[in-house]
Each structure stands twice: as C-alpha cells, then as structure tokens.
C-alpha cells in the first residue's frame, strides 16, 4: 500500500513537470511512416507548411462527429487559407477493413485537405490520440497551440479566433 502511494505521488509530480515542459517546447513531429491516398509512403517528420499554421485532424470514415467537423472546416477552408495560410492535414485511422473507402470518400466529397492513411494507428499512438475526432493546431513556428477532442457544431468559430490570433 505504501509503495502504491509512493508510486502515485511520484507519477503526479513527474507528470506535472512533464506537462509544463511539454507546453514550453516547440513540437517536433514523430517519425512515423503513413501512406498517401495513392499508396505512397510519407514520413510524418516531414510535415511542414513553410512557416504558416498547420491543423492536423485525426478522423475515420465510420466516425460521424469527425465527418461533421471536416464538413464544417471544408465550408471555411478557402477563407482560412486566404487569411492565414492554414494547411489542414487529415489523418484517417481506418484500418484494413475500411482503409480503401477513404479515397472515394474524401474525393467524393471534394475535400481539398492533404490526406493520409494511418492504417495501424502508428501516428495516432505517437501523437497520444485516444479517440477521434482529435485536432491539433500548430502556429507558424511549429508550436502546439491548441488541441481539441470531440466535435460540436460551432467549434470551428473557436478555431477561427485562434487562427486570427496566431497569424497576427
């Protein structure tokens, strides 16, 4: 019992320290191989947008709130790109069961996002994503500004406000 208490105290202290540090640092993307929609390999350490903000959104074809979120982003994407230079990268966590549905789904909807397949959740795990949808916003210097899980209609307004803040 004593040991357990020690363990939890230790963990708490460490996690707090770690949390503070994680906040301070520039985010470096983990090096994980994922695929493009036409089957090429892409390494996630190469994610970049020439000093402009990046939004990474984890989703799946079977996730209704994810789709609603990406439709809402799509409605605003042209404006956001023009105003802030934002690039949206969407990472599908569909596994081998549904991975081949992704390209017809994304193109069928006419989405212009940079789109990747994370078939065995390697990148998802490396980014500590638990459930989808989960989005990360990085500013032009690569600092993690905001993350967001779940989706409610209107969430995109909060994102837009943040985008304006970091672009100024």
């Amino acid at each position: 019992m004593k040991n357990r208490y020690k363990l939890s105290t230790l963990l708490l202290i460490l996690l707090t320290t770690v949390y503070i540090q994680a906040q301070d640092n520039k985010f470096s993307f983990p090096s994980v191989n994922i695929k493009t929609l036409d089957g090429k390999t892409f390494n996630t350490s190469e994610i970049e947008n020439g000093g402009k903000p990046i939004l990474i959104s984890f989703w799946a074809t079977w996730c209704k709130p994810c789709i609603k979120e990406l439709i809402a982003y799509d409605d605003n994407y042209d404006d956001w790109q023009e105003e802030t230079g934002l690039k949206i990268i969407i990472i599908s966590i569909d596994d081998s069961k549904s991975v081949d549905r992704v390209a017809p789904f994304v193109n069928g909807r006419g989405w212009e996002y940079e789109s990747y397949l994370d078939e065995n959740s390697s990148f998802k795990r490396a980014m500590n994503v638990i459930n989808v949808p989960h989005s990360f916003l990085f500013d032009g210097n690569g600092k993690l500004i905001w993350q967001h899980t779940s989706y409610a209609e209107g969430d995109e307004d909060e994102l837009y406000e943040l985008l304006l803040q970091i672009s100024n």
Partner: protein
C-alpha cells in the same frame, strides 16, 4: 514487482527530465484514460449482481522523444475490470514499455510494439481499449530503409497475454518496394506501383501426448498496389502451412486468403469495390487460444462499420475459418451548380455487402475438408444494403437520413444454434438545428423492424451542445416489439460531457442493453448493466 516498476519509471523520468532540461528538443507527451461504472442489479434487463459495486479501467501512456531516441511506457489499472472485459486484466501493471532508436537508415526497437504487414492477413498486432484487445509483440524489431522506396522489417517476439506472454514465439519479415523510386522506366508520373512480400512463423512446443503437432507454423503473403490518377487497385494473397488449432478443430489442412480491392474517385464522385475469400486462416501464437486471445493476424471484415445504435444491433464479424464476401460503395456529391447540390448540398452514399460460407467437402482424414476456390457456399452469413443521404435545409438546419436492410446469421456469427437469420429494416433520421450561435440541438430518431429475434426497436436521442465545451445527451432505446411482453424494456440514459483542449470528462447514468460492440470487424459482448458512469480522457 512494484519496486521494479518504480525504479524503471524513476530512471526513465530522471533521464528524460535531465535531457529535457539540457536540450529543448527533448519532448514528453502522453495521455490518460479512465472509465468507471457503478453497478446495480437489475433483473428486468438481466444486469447481474456485481460484488464490487464499482469497477474501473484506467491507463496512462507516456512517450519521451529526443532526436532519434524514443521511449514509451503504459500503466494499466483494472480494479476490477469493467463488466464485459476479461477478468484476467484485474490488477495493476506496466504491460507496455519500449525503447527505440533511429540510426540513419535503421530503426531498432526493443520491448512492446504494434506492427502490420500488408493488410494484416498474416500479421497485425494492435490495441483497442473498447474491445479490451492488446496483442502487442514483446521482443525486438528492426526496420531498414536501404534506399528510397525500399522498406524491410524484421521482428521476433512473444505476444502480450493479459499480464503474461503467450506460449508461442513469433518471427516475421516483410519487404515493401515502391517501384517508381528505383525504376526509371516508369515515366508515367501518374502511375504508382508498390510490391510487397512477407513471411511469418510461429513456434510453440508440441506437448500433446497423442498427436504430432507442427511446432513451427509458417505463413507467407504477397501483395501489389497499383494506382493511376484517381484509380487504385490492391490485392494480397496469403498462405498458411498446417496449423491444427482449437479454431479449426485440430485439422491439418493448410490455409489461404485472397483480398481484392479497387477504388476510383474524382472530385464529387467515389466508387469502392472489394472481394475476399478466406479459408482456414485463423493464426494465433497459442494453438489452443480462443475468442480474441493471441491472434497474430487480422482478417478484415467485409462490411461497413455503421455507427447509429440500431444499425449496429446486428454487427458482422470476420469468420477466419472460412468465408467469401463482396462489398461496394458509391459516393456522390450533387453538382454544386444544380439545385440539389447548391441549395441542399446533397451528398448520397449507396452500398452493399454480402458474405457467405465457403463450399466444403468433408473428408475423414486429418485434413478435415477440401474446398473449391471459386465456389461460393450456400449459407448466408451477412447481407447489408444501405442508402445514406445528407442535406442542408437552411443555414440553421441539417439532416442525415439512412435506410438499411440487413440479414444476419445469428447462429454462425454468435456461435449459437436455433436462431437462424435475423432480417431487419432500419431507418435513421439525424437532424441538427442551430438555435443560436454555438448552441445546437441534435435529434436522432431510429427505428428497427424485424419479425425475428427480439422484434422491433425504437430509439430517440436528443443532444444539446454548446460549442466548444458542453454536451448534454439523453436517449431512450425501446424494445417495443419484443415478442415477450415483459421484455418490452426502455433502455434510457443521460450523459453530460465537458471538453476542453485535450481533455474530456463525461458523466452519465443509464441502462445498457446486452449486446455486441464491434470495432474493425472484431466484436465483444457487453453485458446488460445499470449504473452511473464516469469517463475521462486527456492528452498532453
């Protein structure tokens, strides 16, 4: 044990702490998940008495990276495991830890890892918290990328089996070659060709007093992926040597599987077709293992994963012992210049899937049966036809409408007898109404009609959300058409959730119906329960 864990954690954190201080490029991130539930006996719905009254599952992942170095651990605590999860999880442990290092073209990993070769027909280790599955390998892995376009992976390990290891040793090698990068002859920039091949072998001692069982079982697979413009074709064939197991009734027949998949898409239009044949392809690192234990491979299910509750009441799961299936889906976004496209923003999806048995001619020798590769079996396992329509009525109101026809072989898919095929029709309407900026009311109406099994169901769900933080949800799922009048039960539930940045906290109360949840074609039984729930997830 706890002392060891403590020392290990302490060391890792000390090192990482030191690194993080010295050099800003060291990073620590992680996540935390907690699910707890109180249990009240409810004889009406069949919720059993739970002696602990409160059960919980929790975990935390911590990852440290600096340059090419990564270390990770996961703590897990089940005191005791939630109903529906295997009780062998009960306890506190550190069942997942690894270190890896990237040295130029080589990546070394020691410890636990998740890996998939091709489509997973002969190797896929993965983790799914909802299903209570973690078949990670614990051992060593090397990934080598000698030149651009070539990736070679080699691995050896034992699989996680709750807090122990499975009895078998798994060895595997996989190569993938992206031809465009080293064949100058492919001048067509739109054409991409990838070839892959893999081999996996497992070793398990033969301790059977009577039978001579193969101690080494090998499986090989080859795959191709060709894309051109909006067109993609993929195929993989896998073969497995003699592998008598509890799954196949200890027969000596070899196994095989074939996957074919193609899709075509351009802006506003998408088509997907897929076919599969599987024969005796269960592959585990313990020949006596059952259910979700110690699977080395993963056969993808030939069916769409639906999400509305009543459309998932009768879910399909892969049958590694033998199945033949086909599925297709067509997506269409109405032209943005037409009335339906511009005014209503209409998007249509139509699809189907069907899975049958394979034809088997039974033999009296050790092979058990023979099967003609091209002949489809007579027995239907699953059929699903669906139409989905999305539209926007006005700036304030959006709607999603689904209709399904499903046929579900309850005997085969749940390992029962005497139920036969459950035929159901399902209708869903999901309406979103914006009351004022950031305030939304979402209403789901769902109806399932069937003459078999438990009869008709009706479900009403209402969710009020205030972006970006608050959700309030209530629903009632009512089995009004149950042939037994005393089983016409309301399964009601209320939840509220608060979401902020990477953290989400959800509190709820409700009755849970006895059913099956499936993710990726793998399913688990969820027993009936009645109680309060708390669910916390956080990423940092």
């Amino acid at each position: 044990m706890i002392k060891k864990v403590l020392v290990f954690v302490f060391l890792i954190f000390q090192t990482t702490h030191f690194f993080a201080q010295e050099n800003k490029s060291g990073q620590i991130h992680g996540n935390f998940g907690f699910v707890g539930q109180t249990y009240k006996e409810d004889s009406l719905i069949g919720a059993p008495f739970v002696a602990e009254k409160f059960l919980m599952n929790a975990y935390s992942n911590v990852l440290f990276t600096k340059g090419g170095f990564t270390a990770g651990v996961r703590f897990e605590t089940y005191l005791n495991a939630l109903e529906g999860y295997d009780k062998r999880y009960n306890g506190i442990a550190l069942p997942y830890r690894f270190i890896s290092y990237q040295h130029e073209k080589l990546n070394f990993l020691l410890g636990n890892f998740y890996e998939q070769f091709g489509n997973g027909l002969i190797l896929r280790t993965y983790e799914d918290k909802d299903l209570g599955i973690d078949n990670s390998l614990d051992g060593a892995r090397v990934i080598y990328q000698p030149i651009k376009g070539i990736t070679i992976k080699g691995l050896v390990g034992k699989q996680r089996f709750y807090y122990e290891h499975g009895p078998g040793i798994v060895r595997g090698i996989d190569g993938e070659f992206y031809l465009n990068d080293f064949l100058q002859k492919i001048s067509d920039k739109k054409l991409h060709v990838t070839l892959g091949g893999s081999f996996v072998s497992k070793f398990q001692p033969d301790d059977d007093p009577v039978y001579i069982l193969p101690e080494n079982v090998g499986a090989g697979a080859g795959r191709v992926s060709i894309s051109h413009g909006g067109f993609l074709f993929k195929s993989e064939y896998a073969y497995k040597s003699q592998d008598p197991s509890a799954d196949n009734g200890y027969i000596y027949k070899t196994g095989e599987a074939l996957l074919l998949s193609m899709n075509y898409s351009k802006k506003g239009f998408g088509l997907f077709l897929n076919a599969k044949r599987v024969d005796n392809m269960s592959f585990r690192s313990d020949r006596n293992a059952k259910l979700t234990d110690l699977n080395i491979n993963n056969i993808p299910a030939t069916a769409k994963t639906h999400t509305y509750a009543l459309a998932t009441l009768y879910p399909y799961a892969s049958q590694p012992n033998g199945e033949m299936g086909m599925q297709g889906e067509f997506n269409y976004r109405f032209n943005r210049n037409s009335f339906l496209g511009k005014k209503l923003r209409m998007f249509l999806t139509v699809g189907f899937s069907q899975v049958n048995s394979i034809k088997k001619t039974f033999l009296s020798d050790g092979d058990g049966y023979t099967s003609d590769f091209f002949e489809i079996g007579d027995e239907l396992y699953f059929r699903d036809i669906f139409v989905e329509l999305e539209m926007k009525f006005s700036k304030k109101m959006k709607g999603i409408f689904h209709a399904y026809h499903q046929e579900y072989n309850k005997d085969v898919l749940q390992g029962l007898s005497g139920y036969g095929i459950v035929k159901s029709n399902i209708f869903v309407a999901d309406i979103n109404y914006k009351l004022k900026p950031k305030h939304n009311l979402r209403t789901e109406l769902q109806l399932l009609t069937t003459k078999q099994d438990k009869g008709n169901w009706l479900m009403v769900l209402m969710e009020y959300s205030i972006a970006p933080h608050w959700f309030f949800t209530v629903f009632d799922m009512y089995n009004y058409g149950n042939p037994k009048p005393d089983k016409r039960i309301h399964y009601y539930s209320g939840n509220f959730a608060y979401s902020n940045k990477g953290t989400r906290i959800q509190l709820g109360y409700g009755r849970v119906w006895e059913g099956i949840i499936c993710v990726g074609g793998v399913c688990r039984n969820v027993p009936a329960s009645n109680g309060f729930t708390i669910n916390i997830t956080s990423s940092f």
